[in-house]
């Protein structure tokens, strides 16, 4: 599938591996089409719980491991503009709201994106996800309407389909499946158990698991149904 042309795509998530399952195929597809992509990752997932038993890392060594994994994921996707924003995992919602909006404004003015991909505020489960989406929506809302980039938002809370309906954007990313698998495998410290499950489901011929490597879904953020 050839995705519609974009000037620049800005992807903003709070954790290394947030891009892997839901967006890495889309990122790789844009890159394959020659469209510049910037991925700003707000934290290094310092508070990740998967440390193994016996442990392969400590609370203090995990950030460096996840940083290496993030770099490897970027490499797998072919991404060259990766920005690590230096915040701490699980604290985004407690940062000054205005500071967060400014961070997003700076990313927008720096990259001049026609499309932004982030989380859908209030439907993205993890407090950091919701806080990231909130800050981005606020930053874009303050722009003159005709200058606003489109926002593709990810939602996966248990009530998201009930409230928001089905995602209106479906990308067939099959041609980038190898790159997507590379991104998912790059984050092995955190994704091992999910990948194990996926391999099993693929072996059982489950279509839902196959879908993971074929489709990625987003909601176009609609300011007429703003979250606040």
């Amino acid at each position: 599938m050839t995705l519609p042309m974009e000037r620049h795509v800005l992807v903003v998530f709070p954790h290394p591996d947030d891009e892997a399952f839901g967006v890495s195929g889309t990122i790789a597809t844009y890159i394959n089409q020659g469209i510049p992509v910037t991925y700003a990752c707000l934290t290094l997932g310092e508070m990740g719980r998967n440390l193994g038993n016996p442990p392969f890392a400590t609370r203090e060594t995990l950030p460096q491991i996840r940083k290496e994994e993030l770099l490897a994921s970027a490499k797998a996707m072919g991404l060259t503009d990766l920005r690590m924003m230096g915040l701490r995992d699980k604290t985004i919602e407690f940062e000054d709201d205005e500071k967060m909006v400014e961070m997003m404004q700076n990313l927008i003015s720096d990259t001049n994106p026609s499309l932004i991909i982030t989380f859908y505020p209030n439907y993205a489960v993890h407090p950091d996800h919701d806080a990231t989406g909130r800050a981005m929506v606020r930053a874009v809302r303050r722009m003159p309407e005709e200058q606003r980039p489109t926002i593709y938002a990810l939602a996966f809370s248990n009530d998201s389909k009930e409230v928001l309906g089905e995602p209106d954007i479906v990308h067939n990313i099959k041609e980038a499946a190898v790159q997507k698998m590379g991104s998912m495998r790059a984050h092995i410290s955190q994704t091992a158990w999910m990948l194990e499950e996926m391999d099993k489901r693929l072996a059982d011929g489950e279509t839902e698991a196959e879908n993971w490597l074929n489709f990625e879904r987003f909601y176009t953020y609609d300011f007429s149904k703003d979250f606040e």
Partner: protein, 116 residues
């Protein structure tokens, strides 16, 4: 990290007593706990780089162990500690990992501040 050896860990706890130390204390059942199971009441607590001085540090119980620090005017304790390590920076890292390898509790003591 390695499985807690009571005598060794007790000795390390003694080494940090009666001086100013920074602590990291965390309990968690994960940001997704209530997403995967709506019956889970999700609670946790986190403090990092708070300076304390304890007069007595003690390891108690069978594995998973409990660690208690008695302060001049209060207490710090953690329950469920399975592993420990004195890391290359001389920091005492203690953690409790569940059967699936997920961290459930961490208590760390250092003479210098932990990173951000």
């Amino acid at each position: 990290m390695e499985i807690v050896q009571v005598d060794r860990l007790q000795e390390l706890l003694n080494n940090f007593a009666n001086e100013d130390v920074y602590i990291h204390l965390e309990t968690t059942n994960g940001a997704y706990a209530a997403h995967f199971n709506e019956n889970v009441f999700n609670a946790g607590a986190f403090i990092r780089n708070v300076m304390i001085r304890y007069e007595l540090g003690k390891i108690a119980g069978e594995a998973p162990h409990r660690i208690g620090l008695k302060l001049p005017h209060g207490w710090v304790y953690a329950q469920g500690i399975t592993h420990f390590e004195l890391d290359e920076h001389g920091r005492l890292l203690m953690a409790g990992h569940d059967q699936s390898g997920k961290l459930a509790v961490a208590l760390q003591i250092s003479k210098t501040p932990f990173t951000y």
